[in-house]
Amino acid sequence: MIKTIYQFYHDGFSNMKLGKKLWLLIAIKLFILFAVIKYFFFPNILEEKFDNDTQRSNYILEQLTLQGEDNGTH
Protein backbone atom coordinates (compact mmCIF):
# COMPACT_ATOMS: atom_id res chain seq x y z
CA MET A 1 0.00 0.00 0.00
CA ILE A 2 2.70 2.49 1.07
CA LYS A 3 4.81 1.42 -1.90
CA THR A 4 1.87 2.04 -4.26
CA ILE A 5 1.28 5.48 -2.81
CA TYR A 6 4.99 6.27 -3.03
CA GLN A 7 5.06 5.08 -6.64
CA PHE A 8 2.00 7.19 -7.44
CA TYR A 9 3.62 10.38 -6.19
CA HIS A 10 7.05 9.45 -7.61
CA ASP A 11 5.65 8.86 -11.09
CA GLY A 12 3.52 11.97 -10.84
CA PHE A 13 6.44 14.20 -9.97
CA SER A 14 8.80 12.50 -12.44
CA ASN A 15 6.44 12.93 -15.38
CA MET A 16 5.71 16.57 -14.73
CA LYS A 17 6.58 19.11 -17.41
CA LEU A 18 5.42 22.60 -16.55
CA GLY A 19 4.75 21.31 -13.03
CA LYS A 20 8.51 21.20 -12.30
CA LYS A 21 8.78 24.90 -13.04
CA LEU A 22 5.73 25.57 -10.87
CA TRP A 23 7.13 23.54 -7.96
CA LEU A 24 10.39 25.46 -8.23
CA LEU A 25 8.43 28.69 -8.12
CA ILE A 26 6.48 27.47 -5.07
CA ALA A 27 9.71 26.45 -3.31
CA ILE A 28 11.37 29.82 -3.97
CA LYS A 29 8.26 31.66 -2.88
CA LEU A 30 7.90 29.67 0.35
CA PHE A 31 11.59 30.19 1.10
CA ILE A 32 11.27 33.96 0.60
CA LEU A 33 8.07 34.09 2.65
CA PHE A 34 9.15 32.01 5.64
CA ALA A 35 12.95 32.14 5.75
CA VAL A 36 13.33 35.79 4.80
CA ILE A 37 10.16 37.83 5.17
CA LYS A 38 8.69 36.13 8.23
CA TYR A 39 12.01 35.62 9.97
CA PHE A 40 13.55 39.05 9.41
CA PHE A 41 10.62 41.41 8.98
CA PHE A 42 7.54 39.98 10.64
CA PRO A 43 8.17 38.98 14.24
CA ASN A 44 5.15 38.30 16.39
CA ILE A 45 5.35 41.45 18.51
CA LEU A 46 3.54 40.08 21.55
CA GLU A 47 5.43 36.78 21.47
CA GLU A 48 8.71 38.62 21.25
CA LYS A 49 8.01 41.29 23.90
CA PHE A 50 6.47 39.09 26.58
CA ASP A 51 7.06 35.70 28.14
CA ASN A 52 3.50 34.61 28.89
CA ASP A 53 -0.15 35.29 28.20
CA THR A 54 -0.70 37.13 31.48
CA GLN A 55 1.88 39.72 30.51
CA ARG A 56 0.36 39.96 27.04
CA SER A 57 -3.13 40.46 28.50
CA ASN A 58 -1.87 43.15 30.82
CA TYR A 59 -0.15 44.96 27.98
CA ILE A 60 -3.27 44.93 25.79
CA LEU A 61 -5.44 46.01 28.74
CA GLU A 62 -3.04 48.85 29.31
CA GLN A 63 -3.37 49.86 25.67
CA LEU A 64 -7.16 49.68 25.83
CA THR A 65 -7.42 51.71 29.02
CA LEU A 66 -4.59 54.22 28.59
CA GLN A 67 -5.48 55.07 25.02
CA GLY A 68 -9.03 55.69 26.19
CA GLU A 69 -7.61 57.93 28.92
CA ASP A 70 -5.56 59.75 26.29
CA ASN A 71 -8.80 60.26 24.37
CA GLY A 72 -10.40 62.11 27.27
CA THR A 73 -12.24 59.20 28.87
CA HIS A 74 -11.23 60.08 32.39
Partner: protein, 513 residues
Protein backbone atom coordinates in the same frame (compact mmCIF):
# COMPACT_ATOMS: atom_id res chain seq x y z
CA UNK B 1 1.64 54.90 27.36
CA UNK B 2 2.66 54.23 23.76
CA UNK B 3 1.31 56.75 21.27
CA UNK B 4 0.30 55.45 17.87
CA UNK B 5 1.58 57.50 14.97
CA UNK B 6 -1.30 58.20 12.51
CA UNK B 7 1.01 57.49 9.56
CA UNK B 8 1.66 54.03 11.06
CA UNK B 9 -2.08 53.30 10.95
CA UNK B 10 -2.28 54.48 7.35
CA UNK B 11 0.76 52.46 6.24
CA UNK B 12 -0.47 49.35 8.08
CA UNK B 13 -3.85 49.67 6.39
CA UNK B 14 -2.30 50.33 3.00
CA UNK B 15 -0.04 47.31 3.35
CA UNK B 16 -2.93 45.08 4.36
CA UNK B 17 -5.02 46.41 1.47
CA UNK B 18 -2.16 45.73 -0.97
CA UNK B 19 -1.66 42.14 0.19
CA UNK B 20 -5.40 41.41 0.33
CA UNK B 21 -6.02 42.87 -3.13
CA UNK B 22 -3.12 40.97 -4.71
CA UNK B 23 -4.11 37.75 -2.92
CA UNK B 24 -7.61 38.18 -4.32
CA UNK B 25 -6.28 38.23 -7.88
CA UNK B 26 -5.49 34.51 -7.55
CA UNK B 27 -8.17 33.11 -5.24
CA UNK B 28 -11.47 33.67 -7.13
CA UNK B 29 -10.13 32.07 -10.31
CA UNK B 30 -9.15 28.95 -8.37
CA UNK B 31 -12.55 28.82 -6.65
CA UNK B 32 -14.43 28.97 -9.95
CA UNK B 33 -12.13 27.14 -12.33
CA UNK B 34 -12.14 24.03 -10.13
CA UNK B 35 -15.90 23.76 -10.71
CA UNK B 36 -15.61 24.41 -14.45
CA UNK B 37 -13.02 21.62 -14.88
CA UNK B 38 -15.17 19.33 -12.71
CA UNK B 39 -18.15 19.99 -15.01
CA UNK B 40 -16.03 19.38 -18.12
CA UNK B 41 -14.63 16.16 -16.70
CA UNK B 42 -18.15 15.01 -15.76
CA UNK B 43 -19.14 15.45 -19.42
CA UNK B 44 -16.06 13.41 -20.41
CA UNK B 45 -16.92 10.58 -18.01
CA UNK B 46 -20.56 10.58 -19.13
CA UNK B 47 -19.94 10.76 -22.89
CA UNK B 48 -16.56 9.00 -23.06
CA UNK B 49 -15.60 11.54 -25.75
CA UNK B 50 -11.79 12.09 -25.57
CA UNK B 51 -12.25 15.69 -26.78
CA UNK B 52 -13.67 16.50 -23.38
CA UNK B 53 -10.68 14.91 -21.66
CA UNK B 54 -8.37 17.12 -23.72
CA UNK B 55 -10.51 20.17 -22.91
CA UNK B 56 -10.54 19.34 -19.20
CA UNK B 57 -6.78 18.84 -19.11
CA UNK B 58 -6.09 22.18 -20.76
CA UNK B 59 -8.12 24.18 -18.24
CA UNK B 60 -6.74 22.06 -15.42
CA UNK B 61 -3.26 23.11 -16.53
CA UNK B 62 -4.17 26.79 -16.27
CA UNK B 63 -5.78 26.08 -12.90
CA UNK B 64 -2.48 24.55 -11.73
CA UNK B 65 -0.55 27.67 -12.76
CA UNK B 66 -2.96 29.98 -10.96
CA UNK B 67 -3.01 27.74 -7.90
CA UNK B 68 0.79 27.45 -7.72
CA UNK B 69 1.41 31.17 -8.05
CA UNK B 70 -1.40 32.16 -5.71
CA UNK B 71 -0.45 29.55 -3.10
CA UNK B 72 0.51 31.04 0.27
CA UNK B 73 -0.02 34.66 -0.82
CA UNK B 74 -2.67 34.82 1.91
CA UNK B 75 -0.18 33.76 4.58
CA UNK B 76 1.36 37.24 4.39
CA UNK B 77 -1.80 38.66 5.94
CA UNK B 78 -1.26 36.35 8.92
CA UNK B 79 2.30 37.67 9.23
CA UNK B 80 0.89 41.18 9.27
CA UNK B 81 -1.61 40.27 12.00
CA UNK B 82 1.25 39.31 14.33
CA UNK B 83 3.46 42.30 13.54
CA UNK B 84 1.37 45.27 12.41
CA UNK B 85 -1.91 44.33 14.09
CA UNK B 86 -0.82 42.63 17.31
CA UNK B 87 -3.47 44.34 19.47
CA UNK B 88 -6.13 43.19 17.06
CA UNK B 89 -4.82 39.63 16.83
CA UNK B 90 -4.72 39.32 20.57
CA UNK B 91 -8.24 40.69 20.99
CA UNK B 92 -9.76 38.43 18.29
CA UNK B 93 -7.48 35.44 18.93
CA UNK B 94 -10.04 33.08 20.38
CA UNK B 95 -12.57 33.78 17.66
CA UNK B 96 -10.21 33.41 14.72
CA UNK B 97 -8.29 30.43 16.07
CA UNK B 98 -10.90 27.74 15.34
CA UNK B 99 -11.97 28.80 11.83
CA UNK B 100 -8.39 29.38 10.68
CA UNK B 101 -7.18 26.08 12.13
CA UNK B 102 -9.99 24.20 10.36
CA UNK B 103 -9.14 26.04 7.14
CA UNK B 104 -5.45 25.13 7.44
CA UNK B 105 -6.14 21.45 8.10
CA UNK B 106 -8.69 21.19 5.31
CA UNK B 107 -6.38 22.87 2.82
CA UNK B 108 -3.48 20.60 3.78
CA UNK B 109 -5.37 17.31 3.50
CA UNK B 110 -7.22 18.32 0.39
CA UNK B 111 -4.17 19.59 -1.42
CA UNK B 112 -1.94 16.65 -0.53
CA UNK B 113 -4.46 14.00 -1.53
CA UNK B 114 -7.16 15.06 -3.97
CA UNK B 115 -5.02 17.60 -5.81
CA UNK B 116 -2.42 14.89 -6.33
CA UNK B 117 -5.01 12.46 -7.71
CA UNK B 118 -6.45 15.20 -9.92
CA UNK B 119 -3.11 16.06 -11.48
CA UNK B 120 -1.21 12.75 -11.32
CA UNK B 121 -4.07 10.26 -11.41
CA UNK B 122 -5.12 10.36 -15.10
CA UNK B 123 -4.99 6.73 -16.34
CA UNK B 124 -3.82 5.54 -12.91
CA UNK B 125 -7.11 5.52 -11.05
CA UNK B 126 -10.54 4.76 -12.49
CA UNK B 127 -12.36 7.52 -14.36
CA UNK B 128 -14.94 7.78 -11.60
CA UNK B 129 -12.33 8.01 -8.84
CA UNK B 130 -10.55 10.72 -10.77
CA UNK B 131 -13.78 12.60 -11.31
CA UNK B 132 -14.64 12.31 -7.61
CA UNK B 133 -11.24 13.79 -6.73
CA UNK B 134 -11.77 16.70 -9.10
CA UNK B 135 -15.15 17.46 -7.53
CA UNK B 136 -13.65 17.14 -4.03
CA UNK B 137 -10.95 19.63 -4.95
CA UNK B 138 -13.66 22.04 -6.12
CA UNK B 139 -15.80 21.57 -3.02
CA UNK B 140 -12.79 21.54 -0.67
CA UNK B 141 -11.31 24.76 -2.08
CA UNK B 142 -14.61 26.49 -1.62
CA UNK B 143 -15.08 25.15 1.91
CA UNK B 144 -11.61 26.41 2.68
CA UNK B 145 -12.82 29.89 1.71
CA UNK B 146 -15.82 29.41 4.00
CA UNK B 147 -13.71 29.55 7.16
CA UNK B 148 -11.84 32.66 6.08
CA UNK B 149 -15.11 34.39 5.25
CA UNK B 150 -16.64 33.33 8.56
CA UNK B 151 -13.75 35.14 10.24
CA UNK B 152 -14.27 38.19 8.02
CA UNK B 153 -18.04 38.11 8.56
CA UNK B 154 -17.47 38.10 12.31
CA UNK B 155 -15.43 41.31 12.08
CA UNK B 156 -18.29 42.96 10.18
CA UNK B 157 -20.91 41.68 12.62
CA UNK B 158 -19.39 40.22 15.82
CA UNK B 159 -21.63 37.52 17.34
CA UNK B 160 -21.25 34.41 19.51
CA UNK B 161 -18.58 35.88 21.79
CA UNK B 162 -18.04 37.88 24.93
CA UNK B 163 -15.21 40.25 25.79
CA UNK B 164 -13.28 39.05 28.81
CA UNK B 165 -11.90 42.05 30.74
CA UNK B 166 -9.39 39.81 32.54
CA UNK B 167 -7.67 38.58 29.39
CA UNK B 168 -8.59 41.45 27.03
CA UNK B 169 -9.81 38.86 24.54
CA UNK B 170 -13.05 38.05 22.84
CA UNK B 171 -13.95 34.54 23.87
CA UNK B 172 -16.18 32.27 21.85
CA UNK B 173 -19.46 31.49 23.59
CA UNK B 174 -21.37 30.03 20.66
CA UNK B 175 -19.44 28.41 17.80
CA UNK B 176 -22.59 27.88 15.71
CA UNK B 177 -23.66 31.51 16.08
CA UNK B 178 -20.30 32.43 14.52
CA UNK B 179 -20.63 29.81 11.76
CA UNK B 180 -24.24 30.75 10.96
CA UNK B 181 -23.68 34.48 11.35
CA UNK B 182 -25.94 35.81 8.55
CA UNK B 183 -23.29 38.31 7.60
CA UNK B 184 -20.76 35.48 7.16
CA UNK B 185 -22.79 33.07 5.06
CA UNK B 186 -24.23 35.74 2.76
CA UNK B 187 -20.69 37.05 2.29
CA UNK B 188 -19.44 33.51 1.65
CA UNK B 189 -22.08 32.77 -0.97
CA UNK B 190 -21.64 36.13 -2.67
CA UNK B 191 -17.86 35.84 -2.68
CA UNK B 192 -17.60 32.30 -4.04
CA UNK B 193 -20.30 32.83 -6.64
CA UNK B 194 -18.52 35.95 -7.86
CA UNK B 195 -15.40 33.76 -8.16
CA UNK B 196 -17.39 31.42 -10.42
CA UNK B 197 -18.36 34.41 -12.56
CA UNK B 198 -14.71 35.40 -12.88
CA UNK B 199 -13.69 31.86 -13.86
CA UNK B 200 -16.44 31.78 -16.49
CA UNK B 201 -15.17 35.10 -17.89
CA UNK B 202 -11.64 33.65 -17.90
CA UNK B 203 -12.67 30.63 -19.98
CA UNK B 204 -14.75 32.81 -22.31
CA UNK B 205 -11.93 35.35 -22.80
CA UNK B 206 -9.32 32.74 -23.72
CA UNK B 207 -11.73 30.79 -25.91
CA UNK B 208 -12.80 34.02 -27.63
CA UNK B 209 -9.15 34.72 -28.41
CA UNK B 210 -8.85 31.27 -30.06
CA UNK B 211 -11.96 31.96 -32.12
CA UNK B 212 -10.63 35.35 -33.20
CA UNK B 213 -7.35 33.67 -34.18
CA UNK B 214 -9.37 30.95 -35.95
CA UNK B 215 -7.55 28.13 -34.16
CA UNK B 216 -8.70 25.30 -31.86
CA UNK B 217 -12.23 26.23 -32.88
CA UNK B 218 -14.10 23.14 -31.65
CA UNK B 219 -12.26 23.25 -28.34
CA UNK B 220 -13.06 26.95 -27.91
CA UNK B 221 -16.73 26.55 -28.79
CA UNK B 222 -17.12 23.63 -26.41
CA UNK B 223 -15.43 25.55 -23.60
CA UNK B 224 -17.54 28.65 -24.24
CA UNK B 225 -20.80 26.70 -24.02
CA UNK B 226 -19.83 25.29 -20.61
CA UNK B 227 -18.51 28.63 -19.33
CA UNK B 228 -21.40 30.77 -20.53
CA UNK B 229 -24.05 28.32 -19.20
CA UNK B 230 -22.27 28.09 -15.86
CA UNK B 231 -21.58 31.85 -15.89
CA UNK B 232 -25.21 32.75 -16.53
CA UNK B 233 -26.50 30.55 -13.69
CA UNK B 234 -23.88 31.72 -11.20
CA UNK B 235 -24.13 35.40 -12.16
CA UNK B 236 -27.87 35.30 -11.44
CA UNK B 237 -27.06 33.59 -8.15
CA UNK B 238 -24.45 36.29 -7.43
CA UNK B 239 -27.15 38.89 -7.98
CA UNK B 240 -29.40 37.29 -5.34
CA UNK B 241 -26.58 36.74 -2.85
CA UNK B 242 -25.51 40.37 -3.39
CA UNK B 243 -29.04 41.41 -2.52
CA UNK B 244 -28.91 39.32 0.68
CA UNK B 245 -25.50 40.70 1.51
CA UNK B 246 -26.70 44.30 1.06
CA UNK B 247 -29.65 43.57 3.36
CA UNK B 248 -27.24 42.42 6.06
CA UNK B 249 -25.29 45.62 5.57
CA UNK B 250 -28.51 47.62 5.96
CA UNK B 251 -29.28 45.83 9.23
CA UNK B 252 -25.83 45.70 10.81
CA UNK B 253 -23.71 48.36 9.10
CA UNK B 254 -26.08 51.20 8.12
CA UNK B 255 -23.19 53.65 7.72
CA UNK B 256 -21.62 51.42 5.10
CA UNK B 257 -24.92 51.26 3.20
CA UNK B 258 -25.29 55.06 3.35
CA UNK B 259 -21.73 55.46 2.00
CA UNK B 260 -22.34 52.86 -0.74
CA UNK B 261 -25.30 54.94 -1.92
CA UNK B 262 -23.93 58.44 -1.17
CA UNK B 263 -27.00 58.91 1.04
CA UNK B 264 -26.37 61.90 3.31
CA UNK B 265 -29.98 62.53 4.35
CA UNK B 266 -32.11 59.59 5.37
CA UNK B 267 -35.55 59.18 3.86
CA UNK B 268 -38.51 56.91 3.45
CA UNK B 269 -39.07 55.56 -0.05
CA UNK B 270 -35.32 56.05 -0.56
CA UNK B 271 -34.10 55.91 -4.14
CA UNK B 272 -31.31 53.69 -5.37
CA UNK B 273 -28.69 55.36 -7.52
CA UNK B 274 -27.98 53.26 -10.60
CA UNK B 275 -25.44 55.73 -11.94
CA UNK B 276 -24.14 58.90 -10.35
CA UNK B 277 -21.33 61.40 -10.13
CA UNK B 278 -20.70 62.60 -6.60
CA UNK B 279 -20.27 66.26 -5.80
CA UNK B 280 -16.59 66.41 -4.77
CA UNK B 281 -17.07 69.50 -2.58
CA UNK B 282 -19.89 67.97 -0.55
CA UNK B 283 -19.18 67.77 3.18
CA UNK B 284 -21.18 66.31 6.01
CA UNK B 285 -22.13 69.66 7.50
CA UNK B 286 -23.23 71.57 4.40
CA UNK B 287 -26.50 71.49 2.50
CA UNK B 288 -25.06 71.00 -0.98
CA UNK B 289 -26.52 68.31 -3.21
CA UNK B 290 -24.44 65.12 -2.85
CA UNK B 291 -24.59 64.41 -6.60
CA UNK B 292 -23.63 66.45 -9.66
CA UNK B 293 -25.59 63.98 -11.75
CA UNK B 294 -27.51 60.81 -11.03
CA UNK B 295 -29.93 58.29 -12.46
CA UNK B 296 -32.00 56.77 -9.67
CA UNK B 297 -34.92 54.41 -9.13
CA UNK B 298 -37.42 55.81 -6.59
CA UNK B 299 -37.98 53.55 -3.59
CA UNK B 300 -35.33 51.10 -4.83
CA UNK B 301 -33.05 51.38 -1.82
CA UNK B 302 -35.90 51.01 0.68
CA UNK B 303 -37.16 47.97 -1.20
CA UNK B 304 -33.79 46.25 -1.51
CA UNK B 305 -32.73 47.03 2.05
CA UNK B 306 -35.94 46.30 3.94
CA UNK B 307 -38.27 44.70 1.34
CA UNK B 308 -40.60 47.65 1.72
CA UNK B 309 -40.90 50.62 -0.67
CA UNK B 310 -41.80 52.95 2.19
CA UNK B 311 -39.10 51.84 4.64
CA UNK B 312 -36.93 54.55 6.14
CA UNK B 313 -33.22 54.32 5.28
CA UNK B 314 -30.97 56.39 7.56
CA UNK B 315 -28.41 58.65 5.92
CA UNK B 316 -24.89 59.52 7.02
CA UNK B 317 -26.14 62.61 8.92
CA UNK B 318 -28.74 60.66 10.91
CA UNK B 319 -26.21 58.00 11.87
CA UNK B 320 -23.67 60.61 12.98
CA UNK B 321 -25.99 63.13 14.62
CA UNK B 322 -28.90 60.87 15.59
CA UNK B 323 -32.59 61.02 14.72
CA UNK B 324 -35.09 60.84 17.56
CA UNK B 325 -38.06 60.35 15.24
CA UNK B 326 -36.55 57.15 13.93
CA UNK B 327 -34.94 56.16 17.22
CA UNK B 328 -31.39 56.44 15.94
CA UNK B 329 -28.90 57.07 18.70
CA UNK B 330 -26.33 59.77 17.88
CA UNK B 331 -22.68 58.82 17.64
CA UNK B 332 -21.97 61.46 20.32
CA UNK B 333 -24.11 59.44 22.71
CA UNK B 334 -22.44 56.19 21.66
CA UNK B 335 -19.04 57.80 22.28
CA UNK B 336 -20.22 58.80 25.78
CA UNK B 337 -21.33 55.20 26.42
CA UNK B 338 -18.04 53.91 25.02
CA UNK B 339 -16.07 56.18 27.34
CA UNK B 340 -18.05 54.79 30.28
CA UNK B 341 -17.06 51.28 29.15
CA UNK B 342 -13.38 52.27 28.88
CA UNK B 343 -13.49 53.97 32.29
CA UNK B 344 -15.16 50.93 33.84
CA UNK B 345 -12.48 48.72 32.30
CA UNK B 346 -9.79 50.96 33.84
CA UNK B 347 -11.54 50.91 37.23
CA UNK B 348 -11.89 47.13 37.04
CA UNK B 349 -8.20 46.72 36.29
CA UNK B 350 -7.20 49.00 39.18
CA UNK B 351 -9.62 47.37 41.67
CA UNK B 352 -8.42 43.92 40.68
CA UNK B 353 -4.81 44.94 41.14
CA UNK B 354 -5.63 46.39 44.58
CA UNK B 355 -7.47 43.20 45.55
CA UNK B 356 -10.73 45.16 46.02
CA UNK B 357 -13.29 42.53 44.97
CA UNK B 358 -16.35 44.66 45.65
CA UNK B 359 -15.18 47.58 43.50
CA UNK B 360 -13.99 45.16 40.83
CA UNK B 361 -17.44 43.56 40.61
CA UNK B 362 -19.13 46.96 40.44
CA UNK B 363 -16.78 48.13 37.69
CA UNK B 364 -17.31 44.89 35.77
CA UNK B 365 -21.09 45.34 35.91
CA UNK B 366 -20.77 48.90 34.60
CA UNK B 367 -18.45 47.65 31.85
CA UNK B 368 -20.91 44.96 30.78
CA UNK B 369 -23.73 47.50 30.61
CA UNK B 370 -21.81 49.71 28.19
CA UNK B 371 -19.47 47.22 26.51
CA UNK B 372 -21.41 47.11 23.25
CA UNK B 373 -20.18 50.66 22.63
CA UNK B 374 -16.60 50.00 23.77
CA UNK B 375 -15.07 50.88 20.39
CA UNK B 376 -16.77 54.28 20.33
CA UNK B 377 -14.85 55.22 23.48
CA UNK B 378 -11.69 55.48 21.37
CA UNK B 379 -13.13 57.83 18.74
CA UNK B 380 -12.23 61.51 18.93
CA UNK B 381 -15.33 62.92 17.26
CA UNK B 382 -18.68 61.62 15.93
CA UNK B 383 -17.60 62.35 12.36
CA UNK B 384 -14.84 59.74 12.72
CA UNK B 385 -17.35 57.00 11.94
CA UNK B 386 -17.85 58.19 8.36
CA UNK B 387 -15.85 56.08 5.89
CA UNK B 388 -14.45 57.43 2.63
CA UNK B 389 -17.72 58.01 0.75
CA UNK B 390 -16.38 58.46 -2.82
CA UNK B 391 -14.25 55.29 -2.69
CA UNK B 392 -17.09 53.23 -1.19
CA UNK B 393 -19.69 54.65 -3.59
CA UNK B 394 -17.67 54.24 -6.79
CA UNK B 395 -16.33 50.79 -5.82
CA UNK B 396 -19.85 49.55 -5.10
CA UNK B 397 -21.33 50.97 -8.28
CA UNK B 398 -18.44 49.63 -10.38
CA UNK B 399 -19.04 46.15 -8.96
CA UNK B 400 -22.79 46.29 -9.56
CA UNK B 401 -22.48 47.87 -13.02
CA UNK B 402 -19.93 45.34 -14.23
CA UNK B 403 -21.90 42.48 -12.64
CA UNK B 404 -24.98 43.52 -14.60
CA UNK B 405 -22.95 43.63 -17.82
CA UNK B 406 -21.66 40.10 -17.17
CA UNK B 407 -25.23 38.72 -17.03
CA UNK B 408 -25.96 40.32 -20.41
CA UNK B 409 -22.66 39.05 -21.81
CA UNK B 410 -23.35 35.46 -20.72
CA UNK B 411 -26.82 35.60 -22.32
CA UNK B 412 -25.44 36.96 -25.61
CA UNK B 413 -22.55 34.52 -25.75
CA UNK B 414 -24.66 31.52 -24.83
CA UNK B 415 -27.35 32.44 -27.36
CA UNK B 416 -24.91 33.03 -30.24
CA UNK B 417 -23.04 29.83 -29.31
CA UNK B 418 -26.25 27.80 -29.43
CA UNK B 419 -27.16 29.32 -32.82
CA UNK B 420 -23.56 28.75 -34.00
CA UNK B 421 -23.06 32.44 -34.83
CA UNK B 422 -20.57 33.43 -32.16
CA UNK B 423 -17.42 32.80 -34.21
CA UNK B 424 -18.68 35.36 -36.78
CA UNK B 425 -19.39 38.07 -34.20
CA UNK B 426 -16.06 39.77 -33.81
CA UNK B 427 -17.42 42.52 -31.54
CA UNK B 428 -18.84 39.95 -29.13
CA UNK B 429 -15.61 37.98 -29.06
CA UNK B 430 -13.71 41.21 -28.32
CA UNK B 431 -16.26 41.99 -25.59
CA UNK B 432 -15.61 38.50 -24.19
CA UNK B 433 -11.89 39.23 -24.00
CA UNK B 434 -12.26 42.71 -22.49
CA UNK B 435 -14.72 41.49 -19.91
CA UNK B 436 -11.97 39.49 -18.18
CA UNK B 437 -10.12 42.56 -16.78
CA UNK B 438 -13.54 43.97 -15.90
CA UNK B 439 -14.17 40.78 -13.92
CA UNK B 440 -10.98 41.31 -11.93
CA UNK B 441 -11.86 44.97 -11.33
CA UNK B 442 -15.33 43.95 -10.11
CA UNK B 443 -13.77 41.40 -7.72
CA UNK B 444 -11.45 43.98 -6.19
CA UNK B 445 -14.18 46.63 -6.13
CA UNK B 446 -16.36 44.25 -4.08
CA UNK B 447 -13.69 43.92 -1.43
CA UNK B 448 -12.98 47.66 -1.46
CA UNK B 449 -16.69 48.28 -0.83
CA UNK B 450 -16.76 45.76 2.03
CA UNK B 451 -13.57 46.91 3.73
CA UNK B 452 -13.38 50.67 3.08
CA UNK B 453 -17.10 50.95 3.83
CA UNK B 454 -16.66 49.56 7.34
CA UNK B 455 -13.94 51.99 8.36
CA UNK B 456 -12.97 53.10 10.98
CA UNK B 457 -13.70 49.67 12.44
CA UNK B 458 -11.34 46.72 12.57
CA UNK B 459 -14.17 44.98 14.46
CA UNK B 460 -17.53 46.65 13.96
CA UNK B 461 -18.37 48.95 16.90
CA UNK B 462 -15.77 47.25 19.11
CA UNK B 463 -12.31 48.10 17.89
CA UNK B 464 -11.30 51.02 15.67
CA UNK B 465 -8.26 50.47 13.42
CA UNK B 466 -6.27 53.01 15.44
CA UNK B 467 -6.56 50.75 18.50
CA UNK B 468 -5.86 47.58 16.55
CA UNK B 469 -2.35 48.47 15.37
CA UNK B 470 0.92 47.54 17.05
CA UNK B 471 3.24 50.14 18.40
CA UNK B 472 6.00 49.80 15.80
CA UNK B 473 7.79 52.22 13.51
CA UNK B 474 5.91 53.36 10.43
CA UNK B 475 9.23 53.24 8.53
CA UNK B 476 9.41 49.46 8.89
CA UNK B 477 5.84 49.05 7.63
CA UNK B 478 6.63 51.36 4.72
CA UNK B 479 9.68 49.27 3.86
CA UNK B 480 7.80 45.97 3.93
CA UNK B 481 4.98 47.55 1.92
CA UNK B 482 7.35 48.19 -0.98
CA UNK B 483 8.90 44.78 -0.52
CA UNK B 484 5.49 43.13 -0.93
CA UNK B 485 4.61 45.41 -3.82
CA UNK B 486 7.71 44.11 -5.62
CA UNK B 487 7.16 40.47 -4.66
CA UNK B 488 3.50 40.43 -5.68
CA UNK B 489 4.15 42.28 -8.90
CA UNK B 490 6.83 39.70 -9.70
CA UNK B 491 4.36 36.88 -9.02
CA UNK B 492 1.74 38.53 -11.16
CA UNK B 493 4.17 38.95 -14.03
CA UNK B 494 5.16 35.27 -13.65
CA UNK B 495 1.49 34.25 -13.70
CA UNK B 496 0.70 36.24 -16.81
CA UNK B 497 3.86 35.08 -18.59
CA UNK B 498 3.43 31.36 -17.83
CA UNK B 499 -0.31 31.52 -18.55
CA UNK B 500 0.09 33.28 -21.88
CA UNK B 501 2.79 30.80 -22.93
CA UNK B 502 0.45 27.89 -22.18
CA UNK B 503 -2.49 29.59 -23.87
CA UNK B 504 -0.39 30.16 -27.01
CA UNK B 505 0.61 26.46 -27.02
CA UNK B 506 -3.09 25.63 -26.78
CA UNK B 507 -4.85 22.38 -25.89
CA UNK B 508 -2.86 19.22 -26.54
CA UNK B 509 -3.58 15.59 -25.95
CA UNK B 510 -1.10 15.45 -23.07
CA UNK B 511 -1.46 17.51 -19.95
CA UNK B 512 0.89 20.48 -19.69
CA UNK B 513 1.25 19.89 -15.98
Amino acid sequence: MEHIDPSLIDWSRTQFALTALYHWIFVPLTLGLTFIVAIMESIYVKTGNPWWKKTTKFWMGLLAINFAIGLATGIIMEFEFGTNWSNYSWIVGDIFGAPLAIEGLMAFFMESTFFAIMFFGWDKVSKKTHLLSTWLVAIGSNLSALWILIANGWMQHPVGMTFNPDTARNEMTDFWAIVFNPNAYTKFLHTISSGYVLASLFVIAISSWYLLKKRDIQFAKRSIIVASSFGLIVSLFTLTTGDDSARQVALNQPMKLAAMEGLYDGKSNAEIVTFGILNPSKTLKDTQEPFLFKVAIPGGLSLLSYHNFDAYVPGIKQIVYGDKEHKIMSTKEKIAQGKLAVKALTDYKKAKKAGDKKSAKKAKDVFETHSQYLGYGYLKSPEDIVPNVPITFYAFHTMVGFGTWFILLFILILYTSMTNELHNKRWLLLAGIWSLPMGYIAQEAGWITAEVGRQPWAIQDMLPVGMATSSISSGSVMFTFWMFALLFTGLLIAEVKIMTTQIKIGPKEESHV
